[in-house]
Symmetry: C2
Subunit: 422 residues, 2 copies
């Protein structure tokens, strides 16, 4: 499959982009014998956005229980509902999330959730790219730990390989306070052996740091370093409460951070990831939305704006995280953190491309595309989306979207009913 | 003109809404002899949103100079450009802003800007509702003050009355640090006499409070009270750095606050309006986007999300400014602050209505419409907009939008050229 995007704005210049198979085959030259041509006039091409931390199927719980204290929200609403989740729920919830991501310019996401094979199937079916981690929580229970290890070993084998190359299984040890040291060690060793990504929550709240200090005598990142957990295949979501030394350790170990500003604000975690600090230590910072129960959308354009504005506000600097860097965080940064040959539009890179419709009031007058995308746009500016060399959306239309909305609505209503009966 | 919105979701129930002239004529009953029928199926009706603080024509400077220190941004970029603004620039800039507001569900805004008659004409031509304040800055220069007084007197007379009822002239004394005490007193007296709204910036930065204490020996709100400036026709934009006593004074005087969370974060003003504190003192809090140079859009859905999340984050409370109250702030709150019989959909209210397209992934599964609108939606969820009993947008289309984009683009590029020549 060859696609030609003709006469499109790329890095401020009008040009053509050719894709072949799953790759970008060329910039500039026109190849007449393509299978499809997309008219790029009035549009700008940017790399597909990378959502480095979410729980996709939580789209089913969007708006289900907002504005509550964290403990009540989790214990009385979210966890009871999650206990009732079926593989079918997760399939339709993930499909709903994929649809939302496709429509708002995201070509790749890193997921952590239950019934992961159903989620993988949804990713496979919608055409997006996903790093899929089954939730690994043992709470120190060795029986549970063993189950998770078995399941992860199974998924690293045939069970996971049955999906196409876009769907990559990953390890999802939930957090240091929900997974035993032994299991964390196992997860990292298993991931290294199987060349898998590791996806973990890290230092989202101050309480987590205090507990770690009390129980382990060191801060969370120090603990993870001590047990040999850190490395370039590790993506740590949140990283809100790191001190200088912890940022240095992450940098030294080439570990990655996934910044989730919208979720951090909504759940009022009390501080913000220190982007300048992490950057100084050489840590790659990616951007994530978190799940729809704590955001409540998957719009990476909105996430870029929250990312920059939260840095400016919290760190009291009008120049913090400028637009260009926020855009890079959501593209190159995400791709680098996930170890993906994507995040920029160059020959040889994966053909993951979003086309922006520039004929919108909020993108006029267009003094700076980066500023406009980060501060003025939202996901609705995306006109067309190519992922892995396939057109997933053209002129705002995604095949089968009505059915996804219907089925996800049905799954969600049934789930809420079952939850209320509990 | 009679319009029937048939079979639409209103407050959770399917019903019909009838408008007649500029008013909502009835809910529920169907009148067959209407001039137009809008199919409300798959849509929810909400009151048109009220943007209580902006500088509309600054849309021309969107993305012109971001991520700079405040002083440099204003002195080297924004002010030089503003010095070159022509009435024609303001006309097209305001039209661009009105187009963006219409497309994102706003039916009324409160403006403060230069060349206000051009802005009024743009409001008149686009069909939206505007409270239009010419900027009043004298910097203690009595000659300048006199000019402004003359101009405002002229506008309160025939010059202002030539516009339709949707376009209301207002007073715009810029701030306590740019307008002399004498002029502030005059503005309030003039506004009271002519029954006009007064629109002022108040306590946006800590420096403003410190300077006021140094120069006047009291805090900004105390100063305004002392000179008899406060009252129910006064809307104070920002209100970031108020102490308890100042909030009490605003409440006692029935003055109104316009919260601008996105701008406050982008310009890193260092604190946030105290919504709970103001509410306790009975102050009506409206919501504003501020101008496009410091936001950089006019999307009130995005502003609602920033409003709630900034309260949650800054005041460290997961329950602060819940979705339902954020939505009320952007509708009822705005209407009340501006003294407008709008902000809710009831018989006799102004026919300012936004229809939300519910068939969108980010609005699925729709457990709570308020949560979805505030936390998940953006302005692109608006399908149709009625203002003053006229349909300004249907199915996402606004008449003449291409020409507005073109002319605003042209005006902005020319303005930037003139600015660079300076």
């Amino acid at each position: 499959m060859k696609i030609l995007i003709r006469d499109v704005l790329l890095d401020g210049k009008r040009t053509n982009i050719l894709t072949e198979g799953d790759r970008i085959a060329g910039i500039g030259g026109v190849n007449d014998r393509t299978d499809a041509v997309i008219d790029g006039r009035g549009k700008a091409a940017i790399p597909g956005l990378v959502n480095a931390h979410t729980h996709a199927a939580m789209s089913l719980m969007r708006g289900y229980a907002d504005d509550l204290p964290l403990g009540e929200w989790l214990s009385n609403h979210i966890w009871p509902l999650e206990a009732k989740l079926t593989p079918d729920d997760v399939y339709w919830g993930t499909k709903l999330a994929c649809l939302e991501m496709i429509k708002s310019g995201t070509t790749c996401f890193s997921d952590m959730y239950w019934h992961i094979e159903s989620a993988c199937r949804a990713v496979e079916d919608t055409g997006i790219r996903g790093f899929m981690s089954p939730v690994f929580i043992d709470q120190g229970d060795s029986g549970k730990a063993e189950e998770h290890m078995k399941e992860n070993t199974r998924l690293a084998g045939k069970a996971g390989k049955k999906f196409g190359g876009r769907v990559k299984l990953a390890l999802g040890p939930h957090a240091i306070y929900t997974v035993s040291e032994e299991s964390l060690r196992w997860a990292k060793e298993h991931a290294d052996k199987e060349k898998l990504l590791v996806h973990i929550h890290l230092s989202e709240t101050e309480g987590e740091v205090e507990d770690c200090l009390k129980e382990k005598g060191v801060r969370p990142v120090e603990y993870l370093e001590k047990i040999g957990f850190l490395g370039p295949n590790v993506v740590c979501a949140h990283c809100v409460w790191l001190d200088q030394r912890e940022m240095r350790i992450l940098g030294k170990n080439n570990a990655n951070a996934a910044y989730c500003p919208t979720s951090n604000m909504k759940l009022s975690v009390g501080s913000a990831l220190d982007y300048d600090g992490l950057r100084r230590e050489g840590v790659t910072v990616a951007l994530g939305t978190d799940g729809c129960a704590s955001n409540n959308n998957l719009d990476m354009f909105e996430a870029m704006k929250f990312a920059s504005l939260l840095q400016k506000f919290h760190w009291k600097s009008q120049t913090a995280l400028p637009a260009r860097e926020a855009l890079m965080m959501a593209t190159e940064g995400g791709a680098k953190a996930l170890g993906l040959k994507a995040g920029s539009i160059r020959e040889g890179m994966l053909a993951d491309i979003a086309l922006i419709n520039l004929k919108k009031p909020e993108l006029t007058p267009n003094h700076s595309l980066a500023s406009d995308l980060v501060y003025a746009a939202n996901g609705s500016c995306v006109d067309s989306l190519i992922c892995d060399g396939r057109v997933l959306m053209e002129k705002g239309r995604v095949e089968g979207e009505e059915k996804i909305l219907e089925k996800a609505m049905e799954a969600s209503k049934n789930l809420a009913c079952r939850g209320n009966q509990a």
